[in-house]
């Protein structure tokens, strides 16, 4: 047991950043911020559900049905991420080579990996599943539909529910691992599969656009939409009995027709059944995944040899060498290439669908300005949020990252080359997206070009700042030991900044377009001002990057 605890703590330290636990003040600050974040998400959930009930989207007694929808969505996403992460952590983690040498029972290593993942999943749930469930329970209790005891009770089933995607993910990680190995071996199949999925998505979106009615009038069609939403929730509940089972364990049994939830003996029995299901899954994982885990771990440790390249070395110029290296890394790291391709292809499709919907609406002046604002927001959000990956670029090199300091070239060059393909690939995406948006709202060519450059410069500025975050707070050790860092502080900071920047930029766009439309009858002045703002932001980020690199690499 002591060994298990040591192993768990050791791996947790790699997986979760505990640097805040050094001083009491830091612990207090981190806990306070964590609690505030939790409270804000809970409050937002409560307010959204309450408002939905006030404006008549659904009756308050429908809250459990909403919970079924949200929890299903959350568990599906958790299952996908758990399967992928567990596959990497169990069968491909670098720390396996170290763990196998420890003088502990081999089963304990396997269990410690699962426990670490479960604890991490609980931590992740604190920012989505748990506060959303709590917000829904608060609504039910405040409306007298559930007893206040539900506040105390809900935590027990939630702990068991969170274990389900972890255990199912451990089982599914086995076939996923074989598929992953297969695709890694025949990389052309990866490209074909990705291309097929992408084609299917595009076909689905085009069909969806064709389904959009000629006229959309949400105000007058509201009762019909309300009925459709109600029927949708009823169908979700009817078609997902296991999810209904889980939600009834959290909020209690339906005591009356379409109303109150009561935690009774039936709830306790269902809770017991959930406990049995969890243990059965754990036993299944133990019997199925553990032997495979050891065979792969031992194989990696004992016989796995790196493949030697038989290609003759070619001498390139020292500048081209880095470009060539980055090209190979980008093409070979499927997570990086898919992430970028997804964002760069999905953003124009999202904008096409959004504007097809807007096109069916009969709008007033405010509506037009809102369309500009939301288009800019929806373009910027995924584009800038994708830069979170840039905030991990240098750390992903692991221990090789430290070699940058000894390379016989000005440090800025290899650092900038890392961003090269991202900088190039985003140009067509941004301009195609802005062209789709501009064309649907009747912008002229100048407006489209200037707005395209404005968004591109904003994207570049944020990308360079994200890269700087990684340079200033490197996570190379974590990547070197596990290969994956799930709670990278630089990634989080970059994502938060992406949201703040996008919202601020959208608000500025709203003000400028409104003013420009009223005063000049043309949107060109607004586009020029937005370009100036982006230019200032991008230039300041570049200067900051250069100055910090100089300080970090040469003056430090």
């Amino acid at each position: 047991m002591k060994n298990l605890k040591t192993l768990v703590m050791m791996q947790l330290r790699n997986k979760i950043d505990f640097s805040w636990a050094k001083t009491k003040m830091n612990i207090f600050r981190t806990l306070l911020f964590g609690f505030l974040k939790f409270a804000i998400i809970t409050a937002i959930t409560y307010v959204v559900l309450y408002l939905c009930q006030v404006i008549g989207i659904f009756y308050y007694s429908e809250s459990p049905r909403i919970m079924i929808l949200v929890v299903t969505f959350s568990l599906i996403l958790s299952l996908i991420s758990c399967t992928k992460d567990l596959m990497l952590n169990l069968y491909f983690a670098e720390d396996n080579r170290v763990l196998i040498t420890f003088p502990v029972n081999s089963n304990i290593i396997f269990l410690s990996k699962l426990i670490v993942f479960y604890i991490y999943e609980i931590k992740r749930s604190l920012s989505f599943l748990i506060p959303i469930t709590l917000g829904s329970v608060i609504l039910l209790v405040s409306k007298g539909c559930a007893s206040p005891f539900a506040f105390l009770w809900m935590w027990f089933p939630l702990l068991l529910i969170i274990a389900i995607p972890v255990l199912l993910g451990a089982i599914l990680s086995i076939p996923t691992m074989y598929v992953y190995k297969f695709f890694k071996r025949y990389s052309i199949l990866q490209v074909i599969l990705f291309g097929s999925i992408l084609t299917l998505v595009i076909i689905a979106i085009v069909r969806l656009i064709n389904l959009i009615p000629e006229k959309i009038d949400l105000i007058n069609q509201w009762p019909t939409i309300k009925k459709w939403l109600y029927q949708f929730l009823v169908n979700v509940e009817a078609n997902l009995p296991p999810m209904r089972f889980l939600i009834r364990i959290i909020v209690g049994e339906q005591a009356s027709i379409d109303a109150d939830c009561v935690i009774n003996i039936m709830t306790i029995l269902k809770f017991g059944l959930l406990l049995v299901i969890d243990f059965a899954l754990l036993a299944f994982v133990y019997l199925l995944a553990r032997p495979l885990f050891f065979s792969i771990m031992a194989k990696n440790f004992e016989v796995n040899k790196s493949r030697q390249s038989h290609n003759k070395n070619v001498r390139h110029s020292k500048y081209f060498t880095f470009v060539n290296k980055e090209l190979k890394i980008n093409l070979r790291t499927i997570s990086i290439s898919i992430n970028y391709l997804m964002v760069y292809i999905v953003v124009p499709i999202l904008i096409l669908l959004l504007n097809a919907l807007y096109g069916a609406m009969d709008l007033k002046y405010l509506g037009e300005i809102l369309i500009f604002t939301f288009n800019i927001l929806i373009i910027c959000l995924p584009l800038l949020a994708s830069n979170a990956l840039v905030a991990t670029y240098y750390s992903r090199e692991g221990k090789a990252g430290y070699l940058k300091k000894v390379k016989p070239i000005y440090a800025l060059y290899p650092l900038f080359t890392k961003l090269f393909f991202n900088l190039i690939l985003s140009i067509p995406t941004v301009f195609i997206t802005v062209w789709i948006f501009g064309d649907s709202v009747g912008f002229n060519a100048w407006n489209i070009i200037i707005l395209g450059f404005a968004i591109l410069l904003l994207h570049y500025g944020h990308m360079i700042y994200s890269a700087l975050l990684d340079v200033m707070n490197p996570q190379n050790e974590q990547y070197a030991s596990t290969g994956v860092v799930n709670d990278n502080p630089n990634e989080n900071k970059s994502t938060i900044l992406a949201f703040i920047l996008s919202f601020v930029y959208a608000v500025i766009a709203f003000i400028l377009f409104d003013e420009s439309g009223v005063q000049h009858g043309s949107y060109l002045p607004a586009c020029i001002r937005m370009l100036i703002i982006s230019l200032v932001y991008c230039t300041s980020c570049v200067i900051l990057f250069i100055k910090k690199i100089k300080a970090y690499y040469y003056e430090g």
């Binding site: 009930q53 006030v54 008549g56 009756y59 308050y60 007694s61 969505f73 996403l77 958790s78 991420s81 920012s127 989505f128 959309i216 009038d217 949400l218 105000i219 007058n220 069609q221 009762p223 019909t224 009925k227 109600y230 005591a255 009356s256 027709i257 379409d258 109303a259 109150d260 992430n339 964002v343 999202l350 959004l354 919907l357 807007y358 609406m361 009969d362 709008l363 007033k364 405010l366 509506g367 037009e368 809102l370 369309i371 939301f374 927001l377 929806i378 959000l381 995924p382 949020a385 994708s386 979170a388 990956l389 990634e491 994502t495 949201f499």
Partner: protein, 146 residues
């Protein structure tokens, strides 16, 4: 991209459609008044009854069991879709308890075995229709055995 980021962007995307759909739509003035033509009860356990001169449907409940009566109106574009719940006030507190929930629904709790009627009427005054629901509470085994 993280799960929470994808989810947040999806929510903002939907909000972008809803906000423009509500705040940006050009206002239209309709002179035509559309009256409620039909009331449909969507409560679980509601059974529609045909050719009964006393009621249009039945809901069977247990003693002290609460039931939320939810209804929808047709056509969807009715100018005033609000509903009123009428009942025999002499029976209130003796046979059943009644609470209007404020969200267009009401909750009824049968205190004893027997039947009671709830009539649901549109508040637009011009619709000449209503939905009469019979709430039946069967006696429990304990009541029968005394």
């Amino acid at each position: 991209m993280k799960k929470s980021v994808i989810l947040t962007i999806s929510i903002i995307y939907i909000l972008a459609i809803v906000v423009v759909g509500f705040l940006g739509i050009a206002l239209k003035v309709y002179n035509e008044k559309v009256y409620v033509e039909k009331i449909i009860c969507i409560t679980d356990g509601y059974v529609a009854v045909e050719n009964d001169e006393y009621c249009d449907g039945v809901i069977t409940v247990q003693k002290n069991q609460e039931v939320v009566i939810k209804c929808q109106v047709e056509p969807d574009n009715a100018t005033n879709p609000n509903l009123r719940f009428d009942y025999d006030s002499d029976e209130l507190g003796k046979k059943f308890e009644f609470v209007e929930n404020g969200d267009g629904t009401c909750t009824i709790k049968m205190l004893d075995s027997g039947t009671t009627f709830i009539e649901i009427v549109p508040t637009d005054r011009n619709s000449n229709i209503s939905l009469r629901i019979k709430i039946t509470c069967k006696p429990s085994l304990e009541d029968i055995l005394g």
